[in-house]
Structures are given as C-alpha cells and as structure tokens.
Symmetry: none
Subunit: 407 residues, 2 copies
C-alpha cells in the first residue's frame, strides 16, 4: 500500500502549531584539526541546550545512503515529500528563487552567459563572470526583442553575475530536455533534445529552445565577452501535492534567501516577506502565530560558512542562531523540529551525504536525556537514523494529528 495514502487516511485536524526550523547545512564531521569537535559541538548554545533537555534526537538521511542532495531535494524531504519521487529541475528552482511566480506547466531553464569564438566554440562557460549589472542589461535587451515565440510567452530574468533564467509559458509544454551546454570548454553548444523521445510536448519545447537560440544569439553577437549563452536543467514545474492538502496544515515560509522561498512556494506555502535576520524571522513567527498552523523558518548561514570551509564562522553562525532563539521561545509551538536540510561539512566545503542531526521537541517527544544537541548526541538519540522525508510524519504524530492505525 502507498504509505502516503495511509498517512493521509490517518490524518486528523488538531489545533497544534508546528515549526520546522532549518539551520541549513548544519551537520558537520569531527576531524582532528578541530579537536574532533564539529561547529555545533564547539559552539556555545545555552538556548538550544535548554530545549534539548526535553527533546528527542536522531540523524536523518536526506535522500538515500551516500547521496548528497542539492537544496531542492533536501528541502522537499523536510517538507515530507520523497525527493526521488518528486524531482524538480534546476531551472524551476532557479526561477522560483528569482521570484518568478511559476505556473503549472511552465518550462524553466537555468541559463548563463558564455563566450563563443568565431566558430561557435565555447571558450568560457561563464563569460568571465560578468558583473550582475551587465547581466541585467543583456537580459533587458533580450526581453525587449523576444517576448513570444509562436504562441508561447518567453520570460527572461537576470540572476547574479552571469546567471539568468528563461521561462517558456504556453500550452502543451513539458520537460525534461537535455542541456544546451557542452559542460566544458572547447565544444559547441549542443542542440537540446527531449529526454523522453516519445513526448510531443517536450519536442515542442526543444523546437522553442532552438528558435530562441536562433533569435537571441544574433542580438548579443557583438557583445564581449558575453556573446553566447548556455541553458540547462530545462524542465517543467512538476505537479506536487500541496502542503495544505497533504497535511491539512496552513503553512508559512519565513526565509530570507529566494531559493528557499521558491521551494516553499512550490508546495504552496505562504511567503512572509520582510525579515532579514534570524531574530527578525523569529519575531515574524510570533507576529503571525495565529495566522498559520505550520512555520518553516530558514537560517542560511550555517550552510554558507560550511561551503566556505570557514569553521569559526560556521560555529559563530550557530551561536548567532542560538542567541536569537529566546525570541522564538517566547511562544513555543506544540511541536518544534530543529535540523538541517543536509550536512555541509567545513572540511568538504560543500553539501554532503552525512545524515544531519535533528532535534524534535513536543510534550510527547520524550527526553533523550542528552545535555546538548550535537551530531554525537544525535547518534545516541531515540529517533535513530531515518529518512528525512519521515520527519514531517514524526511532527504530525507529535502534534497528535495521526490517528491510531488498526484496532
């Protein structure tokens, strides 16, 4: 039997408030260089410690053993969706991240300007990382000249540096397509093809992409160094069951960075705009406490400094998070989960597969009798090591939202 269907059948309505607080990439690994202490272990965290005393800990496999997730699959799992079943193309995530209000059926591509030689060979895949202002100018130029191809609307939106997004909005479109990107210098831009050769809708998109190239390349042909562009991750926004329908919870996203707002939007969460610091985010949670059942609060800096390999800064980010926690704790929801969407170990300077620690607190979480929330503590916690997609089910259970199964 489909487990999601079973959960859905068992779901009942309660008055409980739930908060999923994500310290992005918080998980780390202990190495000799740092006296075998992870940033979470080395940080002073009096407020987390306070919460820990009445919480349960565990570690979560973001996707499957050994698989390192991007932010998309990492968050979809935290939202309770199987990240392998619900795959979201890079173009869609980038488009959502740039604040484009994608509609079902829109096909989005991640694009970036590149440098081509006289023979159309890619000589620099990032066009020397042109400044953002230049990218904005080029996108404005392209947008002005190309707004439609046949019956399809074309939306072009600049990102940071050489990056931009192209969205095709029309009837009968779908992805995924192969990349218009040789993935290394010294080769021409390949034509895109439907991954599923039988999909007429994807073939229509392949033709749109070819037409787009035919019209767009001449417009920027004289530019230096950005006289070409690459497109990849071309796919449509998949149909994902909405959060509210799936869990019966009205959900709000309190994030600062666009990508996480985009991911929350993908499952139908309301985006609460404004707050810039984690203290402001927690204040926003307090302010909107009565308006929602579920709060997704996203803290970026643990991941950011992990990506930089900056151990001290990651430790400091944990301490900053902890220092803001008392704002949140003024009004504790019935269920709180504090975790990451994956690990971003400083020694690896990037995302990893290491199961991230999770702390779950409710009146019925039980206490694991651990003094601190850390990777090592999580190893000994009552939740064990489990797939991240089940965290939301544990949160529902702790909210008493899941009825007994069977007699």
């Amino acid at each position: 039997m489909d487990l999601d269907k079973l959960y859905s059948e068992l779901t009942v309505k309660t008055e409980a408030k739930l908060a999923l607080v994500v310290m992005d990439g918080v998980g780390d690994i202990a190495i000799k260089q740092h006296d075998y202490m992870t940033p979470l272990e080395a940080a002073r965290t009096p407020n987390l410690d306070l919460l820990t005393r009445n919480g349960a800990q565990g570690r979560m496999i973001p996707v499957a053993p050994g698989i390192t997730p991007g932010s998309g699959p990492g968050h979809l799992a935290l939202f309770g969706y199987d990240p392998i079943q619900y795959q979201v193309g890079r173009g869609v995530i980038e488009a959502l991240g740039l604040g484009i209000d994608l509609k079902a059926g829109d096909v989005a591509a991640r694009a970036n300007f590149c440098t081509l030689d006289n023979n159309g060979i890619v000589t620099d895949r990032r066009a020397g990382r042109i400044p953002t202002e230049k990218c904005e100018q080029l996108c404005a130029l392209l947008s002005k000249k190309i707004s439609r191809i046949d019956d399809t609307q074309v939306i072009i939106k600049p990102g940071k540096e050489h990056r931009f997004v192209v969205v095709f909005r029309g009837k009968g479109l779908e992805g995924p397509l192969t990349d218009a990107d040789p993935h290394k210098e010294g080769l021409p831009i390949p034509a895109v093809e439907a991954v599923d050769k039988k999909s007429a809708k994807a073939k229509k998109v392949a033709k749109l992409v070819a037409d787009f190239y035919a019209q767009a390349l001449p417009i920027i042909a004289k530019e230096k160094p950005a006289n070409g562009f690459l497109m990849r991750g071309i796919a449509h926004q998949p149909a994902i069951p909405l959060f509210q329908e799936r869990y019966g919870l009205k959900a709000a996203c309190i994030a600062v960075y666009p990508m996480y707002k985009g991911l929350a939007q993908l499952v139908g969460m309301s985006k609460l705009e404004g707050p810039q610091t984690i203290a402001e985010q927690f204040q926003c949670y307090l302010d909107c406490y009565n308006d929602f059942d579920f709060f997704f609060i996203h803290f970026k800096y643990t991941d950011k400094y992990g990506e930089d390999g900056n151990y001290e800064a990651k430790k400091k980010a944990v301490e900053d998070f902890d220092a803001a926690l008392p704002v949140f704790m003024r009004k504790m929801p019935e269920v709180v989960a504090i975790t990451g969407d994956h690990s971003t170990p400083c020694p690896m300077k990037g995302h990893s597969w290491h199961p991230q620690p999770v702390l779950l607190i409710s009146s019925c979480s039980g206490s694991d009798k651990l003094e601190r929330f850390t990777e090592t503590g999580a190893n000994q916690g009552s939740l064990g090591v489990f797939e991240a997609k089940y965290l939301l089910r544990y949160m529902q259970a702790n909210a008493r939202m899941l009825d007994k199964f069977g007699a």
Copy 2:
C-alpha cells in the same frame, strides 16, 4: 525510480582507491559467560584502535531483519548488490569456489558422496566424511565414464572430503530445482523437480539429473562407504551486473578460501592468487596497489572459530588480524571499510542475523570519537543501523564518486 539507476547516474570517476576488508563473521553477541565481552571487545587491537579514532561506525543488516545469510548473500550485499534480488544457488557458489570457470547458463549442483543401504535408503549423508583423496578418485572415475548426457557436457570436480560439484553445460538449461537430498538419514534420494513447473528448461535439467543418477550410481555401487551421492542447490549462474560496469571500479579479490574467490569472480573481480596469511594478503594489496581501484580482502578465521564456538580462538583471530594490519596501513587507501559479511556468534556456533559492526574510514568519514571498533561502539556510531547493500554506496560517497543530486 530505481535507486540503483540513480546511483549509476550520479557516479563519476575519481582516482580514489577503496578497500573492503572483511573479517568473516566478526560480529558476535555479549553473554554473561564471557563477562559480556564479545571477542572483538575482548581482543587487544592497538592497530584497529588507531584507525577507529578517525572513523565512523555503524551496524549493518546483512539481508533483512532477522534473516541469517549464507556467505553468498552476505558477500553480495557487501559488494553492493541486493541479496534478495540477486540470488545465487549454492551449486554455483561451490563451483566457482572450486575454480570452475562457469559460463552464463551453466547449471551447477553441490554434491556429496553418501552411503546407501541395499534398499537405496541414505544411512550416512556424508559417507563417513571420506578423505579428500578418495573423493578425488571417485570423481575421476565418474568423469571418465560420464562426460556428456545427450547434447549436454557434464563437469565433475572434487572438493574437500565427501564434497564435489556437478556442472551441466549445454543449451536451454536453467534452475532452480528441488534437491536430490532427503536432508536426513533413513529416507531414499528423492527425484528432483523444476521449482517453476512451467519452465521447460528446468524440466530438461530435471531429466539430466535423473539420467546422471541412472548412469553414475551403478559405477560406484560397489564402493564402501561412498556408494551413493546427494545433489542440492541446483541452479544456473544468474546474470549479475559486473562490478566494474556498476561502479566504474576495477576490482581485485585477495582471498584465500575458494568460495570467496568464487563470489568475487561472480561479479567480475580479478582474483589475486598466492597469499595464504592475512599479512601476505595485505602485502599483496601493497604490491598491486597501482593496478586496481578496489580491493576486497577476505579474512576467514573469525568466522571459522565462531562456527566452532571457540571464543578464545575467535578472539585470537581478531588479534592476529590486528597484528597484520600495519602492513595494510603502510599505504592507506582513500576509503577503507572493515566489517564482516554477517555475525557468527560463538554461543550460536553458526551464522546469525545480528547486524555486523562496520568501521568506515576516509578523509570525510568524520570521527565518531570512539576509542575502539566493537559491537557496542558500532551501536553509537553515526552510520546507525543500515542495510549492508548500502555500504558500497557509502564507500563511493566517501571516495567522492557520487555527484550531488538535484540543485
């Protein structure tokens, strides 16, 4: 989506070397009689301790909860194959173990000489464990008289004591078949049948086995005590994706016992012959370091003494293994996993289902800050309890061979 397919899509080539070091049956259970210390815990293991400091630990379910594996499924899981999906008949494993170069479609049976009374009743299933020389004589006699049945070649090869193997090589053959073995004394040898009654190929093999009995029994009828034989585990060599294709790793097997060489051969590993002691095996690893990407090193004696229920000898085997480790450690590969293929608890004198401990060491395994590699330590490790078939995926991840999934 098929998870193996996803892993395959994410696999990239690196220069890393990986070593899977198997202490066969190393896992054990703590009982009062031995002061609640397993052999691994009681043994002096200064070199393992040294490795442990920078490693991650966990426990692995060999097949599924509560299922005790034979060596076949135990090792297939360690090689990263689902042992339920890829089932290999005992006959095939024995044949490979005896060095027969099996071809796809060959049907192999594990056989052993037995004693029959005048009425064809089995009175000793092992014919008093006749010496190996006698077995070799009888097999030579049978081979001389029976080399073909109809269009099928018959290969007979002696093993140790009363054991031998029969391989049918021809067209249109397949298994599995029921055993020509009553599995206890006092009964006649049953005729074999196709397990799948609809398989014409298996029915052909059933007739071959009957014909083989009809021709072979008269040849040895006057022998004492080995005047009969039993056949079991009759099946064909299944199609298993090759290790190199599956992981992009050129693999070598450094084992002493034939069965483990056979299992490695089944997935296409190269067998490095010669070494007899674990120190020699480690030296062989050093000598061939540049020729392969992946090394499977098999140590038998932890299992052997576990099967004997000999606690002191199993503890001593661990210490012998540890004493040889410095040879291996002269050239540490990027990723090492040290584990068993299952547990063989001394009090049980046989294989068991108890999840075996595993120690994983790489520059990004992280340290679980445990002083020793033991069953109790493994319970507290960051890897948790997971299915053994994922160990190879974790090894790939630690070798940085798995790309990020999703954006």
